[in-house]
C-alpha cells in the first residue's frame, strides 16, 4: 500500500483539470491514471465512503435493505418490457452505491474478450432488427491494457484452452479449487469439454501489499475486509489519493453536467450530503457512473439548446442496453461441498464461447461452477421444486442440503436492441427531485435461445458429475440486472455511437465517457475486465490529449 500523504481538497469553485463522475471499476482507474499523470482530479461519488470496519457479513441488510446499493425507496425505477407498455415501479437495475461502486463488491470474475468479440457483426453479417456492429478497436489494441489491468489490480489464474493471446502470464497462480470446481471438471471432462481455471481478480497470494484471500465465503456482493479482492477501492483510489492531486468526494450526487454557451462542459452540479446543490468547476468531465446512471445524467443535462440530452445528437444515449443472461442448473450431491467457503468460482468452460451460426442463433457464453447463495436466500430459493415450503421436511432439507448444493451457472450474450434503453420517467422523481430512470428491456429471442443451449449443457455436466438431483432455472425474460452495458457506446460513426474510439463524446470536446456504457457488444457474460482495460486505455489517451492541449 502506498504511503498516503495529505489528501487533496479542492474547493468547488476551484477549476480542477478533471471532474470524474463515479468511483467504480472505470472511475477509480481513470482517477489514478490522470492524477499520476499530473492532473488535478475530483472524483464525485454519490454513495458513502465505507471503512473496513463497516464491511459486514450482513446478507439481510445487503440484499434486502439495499445497504450498499441503490435503494428503491430513495432512487426508485420504473420498468416496462417494450416502449408500447406502461412502465410500472420496479427495481430492476442494481449497482453498488458507494466509493468503489459495484466493483467494490463484485464476484471477481475477470474474463478478457476474445478477438472474435470485436468484429462479430462483419464476420456474421449482422443480426436483423438489432444494432449489432463491430467495435471501433480490435483485440490487439486493447491487449496491453488487459495486461496492465491484470498486473496493476491483481488477477489469479492459469492459461486455458480458449484464452486469447496474452503478452504476459497471469500475475498470480490460481486460487484453490473448490468442490464445485472439481465436480464441474469431472462432468465436463466426461463429456469431452475442456474445463479451466476461472480467472479471478482476487489475490491468491500477497500482492502489491494486499493480503491473500482468506476464503471467508462472504464474497460476492460483499466488500473484502482483507483487501484481497482486487478492486478500484483498494488498488486504484488509494494510489490516486497518494499523488496529492486527487480528491475523492463521497456523498456527491451529480445532477447535471454544466455547459457553456460555446458548447463546452464547465463542470458538474451535484447534491452534497445536506442535499444542497454545489457546482464543481472543471476543465474537462469524465463520466464513469455506470451504464444506467451515465446515460441518465446525460438525459438529465438536457436544456433548451439540447432538449434531447447532452452528447446525444445521435439519439443513441441510453439505447442498446445489454445486461447479459444468467441462468443455470441447481445440483445436489451426496457429500458436503461446503460452497459457503471461499470465492464463488474456481472452474469454468468456454467451449461454447463463440457464436456458431449452425446453431440457429447469435451468441455464446460460459458455464461455471458456483453456489450463489447465502443462508437466507438459500432458504428462500435453494431447494428443489416440490420441497415442502415449511415444516419438518423443509427444515430437514435445509439442514442437509445447504452444504451439499451448488449451481452450474450459464453466462451469455445479450444482443444490442435499440428499444432496450434507459430513459427518464415522465413523472417519477427520486428523493432529490431528479427524474428517475425508466428501464425498457426485453431479452432478444436469441439471448434466451443461447441461454437455453448453455443450460442444457450445464444440465448434462451436472449429471455427468454425479449429481443426485438437478433442476434448471426456468429460462424466462429477465427482470434483474447488475451488468449495465452498451448505452453510450464507442464507435467511429457519430450517427450510431456516443463516444469515439478514445472515449471522447462526438458532441462535446471536453466530455469523455468510460464505463459499461462504452461496450459495443455485451461480452460473454463477464464485462468487468474489459471495462477496466478500456479505462486504463482511456486514461492514457485522455492524459495525452490534455498534455497536447487537445481538450
Amino acid at each position: 500500500m502506498p504511503q498516503s500523504g495529505p489528501a487533496a481538497r479542492f474547493l468547488p469553485s476551484e477549476t480542477v483539470d478533471f471532474a470524474i463522475v463515479g468511483s467504480g471499476a472505470a472511475g477509480g482507474i481513470i482517477a489514478k491514471e490522470l492524477a499520476t499523470a499530473g492532473f488535478s482530479v475530483v472524483v464525485l461519488e454519490q454513495g458513502p465512503r465505507l471503512t473496513t470496519a463497516q464491511f459486514d457479513h450482513d446478507e439481510f441488510g445487503t440484499f434486502m435493505r439495499s445497504h450498499n446499493s441503490n435503494s428503491p425507496e430513495t432512487q426508485p425505477q420504473t420498468f416496462r418490457r417494450t416502449p408500447k407498455d406502461i412502465a410500472q415501479k420496479a427495481q430492476v437495475l442494481v449497482y453498488g452505491r458507494m466509493v468503489g461502486g459495484s466493483n467494490a463488491h463484485f464476484t471477481g470474475n475477470f474474463w478478457r474478450l476474445h478477438p472474435s468479440d470485436f468484429d462479430e457483426a462483419s464476420r456474421l453479417g449482422g443480426v436483423p432488427g438489432t444494432g449489432l456492429v463491430d467495435w471501433p478497436i480490435m483485440y490487439e489494441e486493447l491487449e496491453p491494457y488487459y495486461t496492465k489491468a491484470e498486473w496493476e489490480l491483481g488477477v489469479s489464474g492459469e492459461p486455458g484452452p480458449f484464452d486469447p493471446p496474452r503478452s504476459r502470464p497471469y500475475p498470480m497462480p490460481p486460487l484453490p479449487v473448490k468442490s464445485s470446481g472439481v465436480l464441474l471438471e469431472r462432468g465436463a471432462k466426461a463429456l469431452g469439454f475442456h474445463p479451466q481455471v476461472s480467472p479471478m481478480a482476487i489475490n491468491s497470494q500477497v500482492y502489491n501489499g494486499r493480503s491473500a484471500c482468506q476464503h471467508c465465503g462472504f464474497c460476492f456482493f460483499f466488500m473484502c475486509e482483507f483487501g484481497a479482492k482486487s478492486t478500484s477501492m483498494v488498488a486504484m483510489l488509494p494510489l490516486a489519493e497518494a499523488t496529492g492531486r486527487c480528491e475523492i468526494r463521497p456523498g456527491s450526487y451529480v445532477a447535471r453536467i454544466e455547459m457553456s454557451r460555446s458548447g463546452r462542459a464547465t463542470g458538474v452540479t451535484y447534491f452534497d450530503t445536506k442535499k444542497r446543490l454545489q457546482l464543481q468547476r472543471a476543465r474537462a468531465v469524465v463520466l464513469c457512473a455506470n451504464g444506467a446512471e451515465t446515460p441518465r445524467l446525460l438525459l438529465n443535462s438536457a436544456s433548451s439548446r439540447i432538449p434531447q440530452g447532452l452528447a446525444n445528437s445521435s439519439g443513441m444515449v441510453g439505447t442498446h442496453l445489454m445486461i447479459n443472461t444468467f441462468f443455470g442448473v441447481h445440483a445436489q450431491f451426496e457429500q458436503p461441498l461446503n460452497e459457503f467457503k471461499s470465492v464463488q468460482n474456481s472452474r469454468m468452460i468456454h467451449d461454447f464461447y463463440d457464436t456458431d451460426p449452425k446453431r440457429g442463433f447469435y451468441g455464446g457464453g460460459g458455464i461455471d461452477a458456483r453456489f450463489g447463495y447465502y443462508p437466507i436466500t438459500f432458504a428462500l430459493g435453494g431447494l428443489p421444486p416440490g420441497t415442502p415450503s415449511w415444516g419438518e421436511g423443509f427444515a430437514r432439507d435445509l439442514a442437509e442440503q445447504f452444504t451439499r448444493s451448488m449451481f452450474f451457472a450459464t453466462h451469455g450474450t445479450s444482443l444490442p436492441v435499440k428499444d432496450n434503453c434507459i430513459t427518464l420517467d415522465p413523472s417519477l422523481k427520486d428523493a432529490w427531485g431528479l427524474p428517475c430512470m425508466r428501464v425498457t428491456y426485453q431479452d432478444h429471442p436469441d439471448d434466451l435461445k443461447c441461454a437455453q443451449f448453455l443450460a442444457s449443457h450445464a444440465n448434462q455436466i451436472a449429471k455427468a458429475a454425479g449429481a443426485l438431483k438437478t433442476w434448471d432455472e426456468p429460462i424466462q425474460p429477465q427482470t434483474l440486472a447488475v451488468h449495465l452495458l452498451g448505452t453510450c457506446r464507442m464507435g467511429n460513426d457519430p450517427r450510431i455511437s456516443v463516444v469515439d474510439r478514445y472515449h471522447r463524446t462526438h458532441d462535446v470536446r471536453n466530455l469523455f465517457i468510460c464505463d459499461g456504457s462504452s461496450m459495443v457488444t455485451s461480452s460473454r457474460g463477464q464485462p468487468t475486465e474489459t471495462i477496466s482495460a478500456l479505462a486504463f486505455r482511456a486514461g492514457e489517451h485522455i492524459a495525452n490529449f490534455a498534455r497536447k492541449g487537445e481538450i
Partner: protein
C-alpha cells in the same frame, strides 16, 4: 471461543504480522466487533417492542412449526426468530403491523372454533397446530410470517434473531473469518489422490 472472538484474534495476529491494512483499521474493526459481541451475548432476552406477550407466544409457536427443531438440530424458536419479527414491526416493517395483529387474532379464533375446548393456538397439540396452519398457508399473513421466520432465523444476530448463530448451526454453516483448503469432500478427495 465464539466466531467474533476468533475474528478479533485473527486481526491481532494479522496486525502483528504487519499487514498494513489491518494496522490502520484494527481499532475500528475491534470496536465494531465489540458492539456486535455485546448484542449476541447479552444474558437477558430483549423485551418485545410491538407484540404483547401473548401475541409473541403465538408467533414464536408459529415460527417453531415453520422451521421446527428436531434431534438436536435448532429451529426458528431456538434462533429467536420472533425477536427479529418484533423488531422489524417496531421499525422498518410498520406497514405489516395490522397483518400480524389480525393474523394472530385469526389463528386463535380458528383454534377455539375448531377445537372448542381450546383457549387458543398455543394450547393446541403440535399436530393440531400444523393442521390449522395448513388451512391458512396461502394467506398473506402466513406468507409474511414464513418469510420473516426465515429471515429471523438466518440473518445476522444484529437484526434480533439467529441467536448465538443457532440458525447457521441448523445449516451446518460454519462462520469463521478464515478458512483453508480443502473446503469440502470433493476437493479434499482430489488432494488426497495427489
Amino acid at each position: 471461543m465464539t466466531d467474533i472472538h476468533n475474528r478479533r484474534a485473527f486481526l491481532r495476529a494479522a496486525a502483528a504480522a504487519s499487514a498494513a491494512w489491518a494496522t490502520v483499521d484494527l481499532l475500528d474493526i475491534e470496536e465494531a466487533l465489540a458492539w456486535a459481541s455485546l448484542q449476541v451475548t447479552k444474558p437477558q432476552l430483549p423485551k418485545f417492542s410491538f407484540f404483547t406477550p401473548d401475541q409473541a407466544e403465538v408467533i414464536a409457536v408459529m415460527t417453531s412449526r415453520i422451521l421446527p427443531s428436531a434431534d438436536g438440530r435448532p429451529g426458528a424458536r431456538e434462533a429467536g426468530a420472533v425477536y427479529f419479527i418484533d423488531r422489524s414491526l417496531a421499525t422498518f416493517s410498520k406497514s405489516q403491523r395490522q397483518l400480524y395483529s389480525d393474523g394472530v387474532m385469526d389463528l386463535n379464533t380458528r383454534a377455539t372454533r375448531t377445537w372448542s375446548a381450546s383457549p387458543g393456538f398455543v394450547s393446541l397439540t403440535v399436530m393440531q397446530q400444523d393442521t390449522l396452519l395448513r388451512t391458512i398457508e396461502n394467506t398473506p399473513f402466513f406468507q409474511a410470517a414464513r418469510f420473516d421466520t426465515i429471515v429471523g432465523t438466518f440473518a445476522l444476530p444484529t437484526w434480533g434473531g439467529n441467536r448465538d448463530y443457532a440458525g447457521w448451526h441448523l445449516l451446518n454453516f460454519t462462520h469463521r473469518p478464515v478458512f483453508e483448503p480443502p473446503f469440502g469432500f470433493y476437493d479434499a478427495e482430489v488432494n488426497r489422490r495427489k
